[in-house]
């Protein structure tokens, strides 16, 4: 445990090994903190037990049980309330998307007149502009998922397995430049993409390039995962004459299914939630929006009165497939996120 981080860039490596020893730490901690009282309390407990009758002891146990039950009921109620609070806005969106009597903010949740008007309006809005946004985002999601996965896994694998000149330099470089707000780069990238005609109405193509180009910088989670795969597997395969390429594709990747799926999922979901870059690159050309920028446009002050419920319908259309996909792959998401949290 005396091992500290050596340099900022190295820090992520160390959690992998450190977490394994946590158990013993805590045990020692607790042992130290509680041993002094241990004997006293033990004596006290035996004292009460010997002096009290069994009936009293039974009664105590029963009241403990009822107390537990009450606590549990309270917790159930609290959880129910919490879940209600969390889910309420989404119920709200769904309900308001079916409202037909008005299109602006209403001040009540349950529609007086139900119908699919808003969905019809959504899909016919400016000759199917919403479908265009949806297609833009879907395309970006697919491309980003594929390329980003390749890039991130490549960088993660190299930094996990290879030792070469400049490895630490590269890691420090990524760490330092990762501390700048990514938005800063957009000012230049917009001009750049504009020269190639990849902004405004063509923004999705420019965005795609921007999303994937630097995606290697997010290698941390995958690297943490690769670090946990024993290097002796590599060595054994090397002895058997496998090339590094074969090891990567035939050994490591099949073993890393959760992290591969996590990376794909993250890559696909990224463009659906991106608002800043999409708005900036589209530069008010509504044909180049993604769903986030487009739907936000629908409820800007000048549009809100006519399109608020349409926005709700759009929200439902966007959220439902994403949510279903997410819930299906939830297992992998949890693996990635918790792994990332533990290993940095």
């Amino acid at each position: 445990m005396m091992n500290e981080r050596i340099e900022n860039g190295e820090v992520f490596e160390f959690y992998g090994s450190e977490t394994k020893t946590v158990e013993s730490n805590i045990e020692m901690e607790v042992a130290e903190n509680f041993t002094p009282e241990y004997t006293d309390i033990f004596v006290a407990q035996t004292d009460t037990l010997s002096t009290s009758t069994t009936a009293v002891a039974n009664k105590g146990r029963v009241s403990q049980k009822t107390k537990n039950r009450v606590v549990n009921i309270v917790i159930h109620i609290v959880l129910a309330v919490l879940c209600f609070v969390w889910i309420l806005p989404f119920i709200g969106i769904v309900l308001e998307s079916f409202r037909c009597e008005s299109t602006g903010l209403a001040g009540y949740l349950i529609p007086k007149q139900w119908g699919f008007d808003n969905y019809a309006r959504l899909f016919t809005f400016q000759n199917g502009l919403f479908l265009k946004w949806y297609g833009n985002t879907f395309l970006m999601g697919i491309v980003t998922a594929v390329v980003q996965t390749i890039f991130q896994l490549s960088v993660a694998y190299v930094l996990s397995r290879f030792r070469f000149n400049g490895r630490k330099f590269l890691m420090n470089l990524i760490l330092v430049f990762g501390m700048f707000p990514g938005f800063l780069t957009l000012i230049l990238l917009y001009t750049w993409m504009h020269d190639w005609n990849l902004t405004d109405a063509n923004a999705p193509y420019g965005l795609m390039i921007i999303y994937v180009a630097s995606s290697g910088m997010g290698y941390y989670i995958a690297k943490g995962f690769f670090d946990t795969i024993s290097k002796s597997i590599d060595e054994a395969a090397r002895v058997d004459g496998a090339t590094r390429l074969q090891i990567f594709f035939k050994l490591i990747l099949p073993l890393s299914k959760p992290i591969v799926i996590y990376t794909i999922l993250m890559g696909f979901m990224g463009p659906w939630g991106d608002f800043v870059m999409a708005t900036f690159m589209a530069n008010n050309a509504s044909a180049g929006y993604n769903v986030a920028a487009g739907l936000q446009w629908l409820i800007t002050d000048s549009m809100k009165n006519d399109y608020y419920t349409t926005f709700c319908a759009g929200g439902v259309v966007v959220a439902v497939p994403i949510t279903v996909l997410f819930l299906l792959l939830q297992k992998y998401y949890v693996a990635g996120v918790t792994g990332g949290a533990v290993k940095g």
């Binding site: 977490t19 730490n25 709700c312 994403i322 949290a341």
Partner: protein, 592 residues
């Protein structure tokens, strides 16, 4: 030979002892250390020494054979030498007696007391680095000279025609690549690079000229220089030149190696083998080439460009096209930090709110998320999976939908106000987004709503990993729930999720979505006036300020660059501080 002082615990007693360590350098990179026992060391001390090596050495060996032996040496030295000199650190046992709060305080103190020394060390280290760099440049130049003197005629030709050596030795692929690179470089420099570089110092002199068109008999405006392009392509040219120098040096080095191999009569690697090794020993080059190229072109180059913009007068007026901009030195930074100016006032207050926001957002989410996770984890709670799924589902829904909707729920004519008025609790709508303080509170509360599911998800797994027998024995010892939380759960969680807390804190400093989608940075704070062409508001944090400045009709790029640089400085300084005092990252040996 180096001597270190260390604390060891033998049989419950803390003993300070001297360790003699010998560092052996193997080759130029690898180092190993072996203990040197002093002649009069007792048996007890020897056992302790063995234990130090077992605890510490195992890992040190591992790292030492990794990369830089020197780093480890310095690290080892730092760790133990600190104990010998200055600010009397606590012994392990004394440290153990502190509670967690005192420990953090202690670490704070240690950190701030250690700052001057840290700076001194870094300064010395920087000096050494510069010295090393100088030496390596000199060595390189010397090596280039001797290679030329001793090399064959093929090598000497390669000094001018890159890749000639490789080509004549049969490595046609490498040779061809070298040659093409040189050709491309020369063509680029002659036709474009030289011109860009020549204007780089002034960023252009003539924006437009009126040109007479004899056919139409009108004067047309012709754009000549473009500061933006000059700055950009000048920078790219500099990158290119550095890459060229590096490649040229590589070319010379390869020629020398080829000469040596020929002299020793060994076989030279063929081009076919070169290609094959790209899938094997050199596989990392294949894998890294595209991602690193992407990072350099789309992150590093733009960021360096934007930092440079901070030293120019680039904004919507001096856009570099119609009106040129030029270098202004530190003027923008001066403007930002002139005491008492509106801009510096706004900057101070926005920075303060950014930090408050980041601290609150991080820790409220952390503790409440953990709390919810513990509620769900508790024994006897039914349908755990359902509760979790409901919360996790909210993560899946893109934030812009939920946040925009919630922002409208609390609008002046939104559902919340309408319902409250219906119930007769209020007479006129509460302006949730119109009042500065209220808006800040709302943003924080809604951020809790956003953040709890994530934290619930992350902490659930870790909480379940805590060995249950710890709690059971604690219960037997009479610890109540709160004590158990403080003594078992908290240390464990902080230890395991420490790095996550840091990344979370940093991402909260740059948490654009929650702030912007809820309030757009408003309500406007008119006292600051127009800061950088943008009316900043009460909930504006640095990153939304940056967004506002850049996207407004009066875009002020130079100030955006200054703010971006400031965000970087804040983030890096805070990361450094947190990394230093975080229980799980530093002095962790004291925990065990």
């Amino acid at each position: 030979m180096k001597e270190f002082l260390t604390d060891l615990t033998i049989g419950g007693e803390s003993i300070s002892m001297r360790l003699l360590m010998k560092f052996t350098y193997r080759g130029d990179k690898y180092a190993a250390f072996t203990p040197v026992q002093s002649a009069n060391s007792s048996e007890e001390e020897e056992i302790a020494l063995a234990r130090v090596l077992k605890n510490d050495g195992g890992k040190c060996y591992e790292v030492i054979t990794n990369d830089d032996g020197d780093e480890i040496f310095a690290e080892f030295e730092r760790r133990y030498e600190k104990k010998i000199s200055g600010n009397k650190p606590l012994t392990t046992l004394e440290y153990q007696r502190l509670n967690w709060f005192q420990r953090i305080l202690y670490k704070f103190k240690q950190f701030f007391v250690g700052i001057p020394k840290w700076f001194a060390k870094k300064f010395v280290k920087l000096g050494l680095k510069i010295k090393d760099f100088g030496i390596s440049v000199w060595e390189n130049i010397k090596d280039i000279g001797t290679t030329f003197k001793k090399g064959s005629w093929k090598t000497r030709v390669s000094y001018l025609v890159m890749g000639f050596g490789n080509l004549t030795h049969g490595q046609w692929l490498r040779g061809l690549l070298f040659f093409l690179f040189e050709a491309a470089f020369i063509l680029y420099m002659v036709f474009w690079g030289g011109a860009w570089l020549g204007k780089f110092g002034s960023l252009g002199t003539v924006a437009t000229i009126e040109e007479y068109d004899p056919i139409l008999d009108v004067y047309t405006t012709v754009h000549v220089d473009n500061s933006f392009k000059i700055l950009l392509y000048g920078l790219i040219t500099i990158f290119f030149i550095i890459a060229f120098i590096y490649t040229w040096r590589l070319n010379v080095k390869q020629c020398r190696i080829l000469d040596e191999i020929t002299a020793s009569g060994k076989k030279i690697k063929t081009s076919k083998e070169d290609v094959q090794s790209l899938a094997d020993d050199e596989f990392h080059k294949t894998l890294l080439s595209l991602p690193v190229f992407g990072i350099v072109m789309f992150t590093i180059l733009p960021i360096i460009f934007m930092i440079l913009v901070g030293f120019t007068s680039y904004d919507y007026e001096a856009d570099g096209y119609n009106n040129l901009f030029t270098w202004v030195g530190l003027e923008n930074f001066n403007q930002m930090f002139t005491f008492g100016s509106q801009l510096s006032l706004a900057f101070g207050e926005i920075l303060a709110w950014t930090l408050i926001w980041a601290v609150f957002a991080t820790f409220s989410n952390y503790f409440l998320g953990m709390f919810v996770a513990m509620l769900i984890n508790k024994k006897g709670i039914k349908i755990k999976k359902f509760w979790r799924t409901v919360l996790v589902m909210t993560i899946a829904i893109p934030q812009f939908i939920s946040l925009l909707y919630v922002s409208n729920l609390f609008a002046d004519n939104g559902i919340v106000n309408a319902t409250l008025m219906n119930w007769g609790w209020i007479d006129k709508p509460i302006s949730f987004w119109g009042d500065g303080t209220l808006a800040k509170v709302m943003v924080l509360v809604i951020n809790i709503w956003v953040g709890i599911p994530y934290l619930m998800l992350i902490t659930t797994g870790i909480l379940m990993n805590i060995p249950q027998d710890l709690y059971e024995s604690a219960q037997i010892d009479g610890a109540n729930a709160f004590q158990q939380f403080c003594k078992i759960t908290m240390p464990y969680m902080l230890f395991v999720t420490g790095p996550y807390l840091l990344t979370n804190f940093v991402s909260n400093i740059n948490n654009f979505n929650v702030i912007y989608l809820l309030t757009q940075g408003g309500p406007p704070h008119f006292a600051w006036g127009d800061v950088g062409g943008y009316i900043a508001g009460d909930t504006t944090i640095l990153i939304t300020w940056l967004f506002g400045i850049t996207t407004g009709s009066e875009a002020n790029y130079k100030m955006a660059s200054v703010i971006g640089t400031m965000i970087f400085i804040v983030v890096s300084v805070l990361s450094l501080i947190i990394f230093t005092i975080m229980p799980s990252t530093r002095r962790e040996e004291d925990f065990s």
